[in-house]
């Protein structure tokens, strides 16, 4: 395999893994949401992310002679390239909303740009993704505002979540080698322009939510290179359990 195709596969894995792991996390809420309507909303978003990961894995499978389930269930932790923010535990509804908002504010401009990718397959996936993302962004921004400007307790909880998760946002804009390569090929978008849109949106919502912008701080990274948090091993243990226990079967 030449270096170009390896970069492309790594890049697609980064997108697919981020979608799958976030979908897996959101799915944990199913049946345990704070109110039935929001239980449904989170399951819905989870379902969109699982669907997105499948489109991307299926595409990768055509380039690697693999299949979507082998990619999802039979790779090891160090091979997963999702951002750390996606694997962060749900903790509570405030952390879940803040994690979702920070990622959606990134995904919306990101996939909007990706629609112009020179890779037509990826552009088509982005076309579909952008529509869902508009809804996810609306949902998560509304909850940021509702919690921020709700009660004292909710204000404090969402501010705490935002402050803690902030250190995982730097990674979104810190390109891995494969992203730089893909930018040169006009396959991936330019992270500088995405960063600008992201900041504007985040500032606008934080202000409307009567919250305070977190201070500049040390940013965590590693996910894009396969170096994850301790949470990741447990996610994969559960997610891959069936395929690992009963190899080679059809379900």
């Amino acid at each position: 395999m030449n270096i170009h195709s390896q970069h492309k596969i790594d890049y697609l894995l980064y997108l697919a893994d981020t979608a799958l792991i976030l979908g897996q996390r959101l799915g944990e809420w199913c049946g345990h949401g704070p109110v039935l309507e929001q239980d449904i909303a989170m399951t819905n978003i989870s379902l969109d992310y699982i669907g997105r990961s499948r489109l991307l894995y299926q595409y990768i499978a055509t380039l690697t002679e693999s299949d979507e389930d082998r990619l999802a269930f039979l790779r090891d932790e160090r091979e997963f390239k999702n951002v750390l923010l996606a694997e962060h535990p749900n903790v509570d509804f405030a952390y879940t909303v803040a994690r979702q908002f920070l990622l959606e504010a990134f995904h919306f401009p990101y996939y909007s740009e990706l629609k112009n990718s020179s890779d037509l397959q990826l552009a088509a996936i982005a076309e579909k993704t952008v529509k869902e993302t508009a809804y996810h962004l609306k949902w998560s921004a509304e909850w940021m505002i509702r919690l921020g400007d709700g009660t004292e307790i909710s204000h404090q909880k969402i501010q705490t979540a935002l402050n803690e998760l902030w250190s995982f946002t730097g990674e979104l804009f810190d390109p891995a080698d494969y992203e730089t390569f893909m930018l040169q090929e006009s396959i991936a978008p330019d992270l500088n322009s995405i960063n600008k849109s992201w900041k504007e949106k985040v500032q606008q919502v934080i202000s409307e939510a009567t919250l305070t912008m977190p201070e500049n701080q040390w940013m965590q990274s590693g996910g894009k290179q396969g170096i994850h948090t301790e949470a990741m091993g447990f996610i994969l243990t559960e997610m891959q359990y069936m395929q690992r226990s009963y190899p080679g079967l059809t379900w």
């Binding site: 345990h32 039935l36 509804f93 509702r146 909710s154 395929q243």
Partner: protein
Amino acid sequence: MLRIDLEGHFQEKIDREERIEAKDWMPEAYRKTLIRQISQHAHSEIVGMLPEGNWISRAPSLKRKAILLAKIQDEAGHGLYLYSACETLGIDRDELLNELHTGKAKYSSIFNYPALTWADMGAIGWLVDGAAIMNQIPLCRTSYGPYSRAMIRICKEESFHQRQGYEIMLTLSRGSTVQKNMAQDALNRWWWPSIMMFGPNDSDSTHSAQSIKWKIKRFSNDELRQRFIDMTVPQAELIGLKIPDPDLKWNEERKSYDFGKINWDEFWNVVKGNGPCNKQRLRDRVKAHEDGAWVRDAAVAYAEKKRSGRVN
């Protein structure tokens, strides 16, 4: 005298197969029976999310994970329609949830059994949703309008779930020995609880006669149970699974299956709270509700600020 006329008029309307609507006069006992039945049904939908939700994180393929998520999401949606239908009878969702959380209201006992293997996702869809449909199809014609309309939508989705569940069992039965055994084991554990879902024998059912007169119910527990068994036995045979009942045999005269004695002690024990998961299920529901209190409070506080114009 007036009351007697109202009741007479009400019963005539039911006998003419006209629907009773939220604003129509209805006997207090009819209203209470419906609140009990619809809320039980709504609670069953949301408690029923738990045993399956338990397998979302472990589903064996991405396709199965997506199907399972969508299915459980449908159940949450059914819970919503049913709570709304119940609210038309003059009781709000908070009160209904409080009754669930304090153990005053019941939900289907089937969800007090554990979902132990992936095959249980098949067995639950095939048998539990299958039995639920058998109960629910007649409810599409139930006399209370909002309930019957909710049931029409629910039944369409349930029959889809049943086919999905059966398809999981079919795939397992065509698979390796381990998979076949997994499917048979799930059938062994879910069969009897599923046929208990139709409730006690007609002779022991306390609410049946009046409900049939009011056309809330259209068929008796035993009639529906027999129909379910007659439908399900050939489905099991088709995929090479054995129904765990040594007394099961075709009765040519009745054109129906005879079946073994149901363990009603077990049934009543689970109803009374002694099933393997009663405490766990209720604890999970109460915890979700309590953990979510600050979120609901925040939403209310924000909406009030909006209304009073303090927020632009």
